[in-house]
Assembly symmetry: none
């Protein structure tokens, strides 16, 4: 999954630390130097890979002694997570973000592997086969929300 470019490598590095600990705190410039990239690339990595959808909370401080802190967040229960996801989806969602959500549901054992794959099949671009991408994203959102709602009450 990783290792094809610097962003992937930085992502892996941070996640390795997060596998041991609940949070990681870095100094942006140090990480940039460590991986031989510009500081703003760290922001790019965080923005694309440590989103709330994926279960991460990011805080930072500027100025002297500044830092970036990434924290794994834990939603209280499945119901809570499903509600949050439904909110996050809103009116449309692209395939990548949908994958992230399904992955999170699987990681947190809300759904099984086969169910996860069914959902991905149902919401893939190939399946929807709509020319207009905006419409496609809206449809995907509807289907995903429909499924999440179903999961929401099935578990009660």
């Amino acid at each position: 999954m990783q290792g094809h470019n610097i962003s992937d490598i930085i992502e892996a590095y941070l996640k390795q630390i997060l596998a041991e600990s609940e949070r990681v705190e870095i100094k942006r410039s140090e990480i940039a130097e460590l991986f031989n990239c510009v500081p703003s690339q760290i922001n790019y990595v965080i923005k694309t890979r440590f989103t709330i959808q994926r279960g991460y909370l990011v805080q930072s401080k500027r100025g002297g002694g500044g830092y970036i802190r990434i924290e794994k967040v834990k939603l209280l229960d499945d119901r809570d997570m499903l509600d949050t996801m439904i909110q996050l989806i809103g009116e449309q969602i692209n395939q990548r973000d949908a994958l992230v959500m399904v992955q999170k549901l699987y990681d947190d054992q809300v759904i099984e592997r086969k169910e996860a794959n069914l959902i991905l099949a149902a919401t893939s671009r190939d399946t929807l086969a709509v020319a207009d991408h905006n419409l496609e994203a809206r449809l995907r959102a509807h289907i995903l929300v429909g499924i999440l709602n179903h999961l929401r009450y099935e578990r009660e």
Copy 2:
């Protein structure tokens, strides 16, 4: 089948690697250069020779460090029935007929109860929420076919 043209040769090259390994990961431009063809020919080869029907799964990423990954998947015994169903569905299907199909999948133990309910949720009129009934039926057909295609093989 044999090396009558470049597409066949590229196909053979990739399949030779896949004979040793479960997956092959390429950089499109490199392969194109290796075989002295335009990059989009690689897409053509993949589209015509590495389909899910033949037991291959393809993933890719664009941008820096991009790649195309081809994976062999194990096709399951149920695939004849699934193929028949896919044919039966055609371009559109109503909710009642979809229910019949899902029921059959459950009866034949291709899917579990939870999975069946999930599929029904994904294809219900409420979820699809399109005004035009014809469009709704077409969309349902696409989703169902997408799901059936994914049931044809075993996932990691």
